[in-house]
């Protein structure tokens, strides 16, 4: 299956090691990435949208128009990108006048958005169009002993009337993927709590991160598994900040779930980019047979 990757900003510019894991794991599921020129930042659903919603929508619609012209389904690897792009699609479908206004702006650069492109987070696209049985078949090593603490992140699920991904209160998306990769998902009582990154305050995001890792520690998980690079930055670097500022050392590795899949597919630590994380994943690696 051919899909267009919408890489966004966080992954290629802050965490390219995660991009590497995506590039190395998806071909093993029969997915061919078709690169397209002309994308910009989605744009980000927190700061840029807070500044000017209409400009946010205009840039998002331009990205959608670029994707539409390219003619394949589009995947994002970032929950922020999928939030912006799907909400833009929703708003433009909901309000015809808005669609006309936006298309007037796009006409200045000879583009038009028609509302036909299909766009999903990579994990959702795999669940719905490739199938988790294909994920299971790609596995070569057993991660059964690896206990993965779940962290959903907000934007992949909510609002469900836009995202249409899963039940926002009782989701299964990540658990099912982790099981398909052969690892063991572990529930923790803060698994639906926001990482706090979108909050413009210094202490509150740390309070939230601390609450989440306190719960993961109590759950006995070996690592945290997630699918959003913004959450990743809150937690990988965030644990170091908490250790420095508050003297609490969780030292729980944070793993983007396609890195976990890569390990299950037999890829090395370097091939899935885990060597670039601040919190090293040694205790996870020991359990892989």
């Amino acid at each position: 299956m051919k899909v267009i990757p919408f890489w966004g900003c966080m992954m290629p510019l802050k965490y390219p090691q995660i991009e590497l894991a995506i590039r190395n794991t998806l071909p093993r599921l029969g997915i061919e990435l078709v690169e397209v020129d002309g994308f910009t930042c989605c744009p980000d659903p927190i700061y840029f949208k807070a500044r000017d919603k209409m400009k946010w929508l205009t840039i998002a619609a331009r990205n959608l128009a670029v994707a539409e012209e390219a003619g394949h389904d589009v995947i994002t690897m970032c929950s922020g990108c999928i939030s912006t792009l799907k909400e833009a699609q929703y708003l433009l479908a909901e309000n015809k006048g808005l669609m006309e206004d936006i298309n007037k702006r796009l006409k200045k650069v000879n583009r038009e958005y028609h509302g036909t492109v299909n766009i999903e987070h990579a994990m959702v696209m795999i669940r719905d169009k490739i199938g988790l049985d294909v994920v299971k078949k790609s596995v070569k090593k057993s991660l059964e002993k690896v206990r993965v603490g779940i962290h959903y992140g907000c934007h992949i699920l909510k609002p469900s009337q836009i995202m249409h991904v899963d039940d926002a209160d009782y989701p299964n998306l990540l658990e099912d993927f982790i099981r398909a990769a052969g690892a063991t998902p572990v529930a923790q009582k803060e698994e639906l709590l926001c990482c706090g990154k979108g909050c413009m305050d210094d202490e509150m995001p740390l309070d939230m991160t601390e609450a989440i890792f306190t719960a993961i520690e109590a759950s006995g998980a070996d690592c945290m598994g997630l699918i959003c690079p913004t959450c990743f930055s809150s937690f990988d670097l965030g644990q170091l900040i908490i250790a420095r500022k508050r003297g609490k050392n969780f030292n729980i590795p944070v793993i983007y779930l396609f890195q976990l899949l890569g390990l299950a597919q037999g890829l090395s630590v370097e091939e899935v980019g885990l060597h670039k994380h601040r919190i090293k994943a040694d205790k996870v690696l020991e359990k892989i047979v």
Binding site: P12, Y47, R62, L106, K108, C154, M208
Partner: protein, 164 residues
């Protein structure tokens, strides 16, 4: 208090109605479903989405988009949007208020600073020599150039495209 009149500033509410998504504030019937699921309300004493909506219904401009507004504590998690039985989309009302604060010049400086990058460079994160080196080391393709001319054109304000 009982003798005081409640004065509603409808001019402020009209302005809010004109920012995309702001018009949904009218649907709020103050049920507090949003508060129960709000992580910012759980972790910050001075953040309460129901109160923000009440202030919107009363048109309390200074409290909402003045310098010390609590709206910036919102975590943007969309839980309120998910839960609201009235389709108020409280987070969207809050973002509309943020747009008004930016226009008024009362937004925190990092909001404008971080978002300026996108217009100038096409991305929200600074491209550094370090990241280019890391991409090279990992064997990743070079970063694509950004269509900055297109971006500039669609963001230009002009009378034919601007409806607000």
């Amino acid at each position: 208090m009982a003798k005081d009149k409640v004065v509603v500033d409808f001019r402020f509410r009209d302005k809010l109605n004109k920012v995309s998504g702001g018009e949904h504030h009218n649907y709020c019937y103050q049920c507090s479903a949003c508060v129960a699921v709000c992580p910012a309300a759980r972790f910050a004493e001075n953040f309460n989405p129901r109160t923000i909506l009440l202030k919107a219904l009363l048109g309390m401009e200074e409290a909402l988009i003045g310098k010390d507004s609590p709206i910036w504590l919102c975590t943007n998690c969309y839980s309120c949007y998910e839960r609201c039985p009235q389709d108020v989309r409280p987070i969207e009302v809050i973002i509309s208020l943020k747009n008004m604060a930016v226009e008024k010049g009362t937004a925190p400086p990092n909001v404008t600073k971080l978002s300026e990058n996108i217009g100038k460079t096409g991305v929200s994160v600074m491209v550094t020599p370090a990241v280019n080196r890391m991409r090279q080391e990992l064997g990743l393709p070079e970063l694509k150039s950004m269509p900055l001319d297109e971006l500039k054109k669609i963001l230009e304000e002009d009378s034919t495209a601007e409806q607000e």
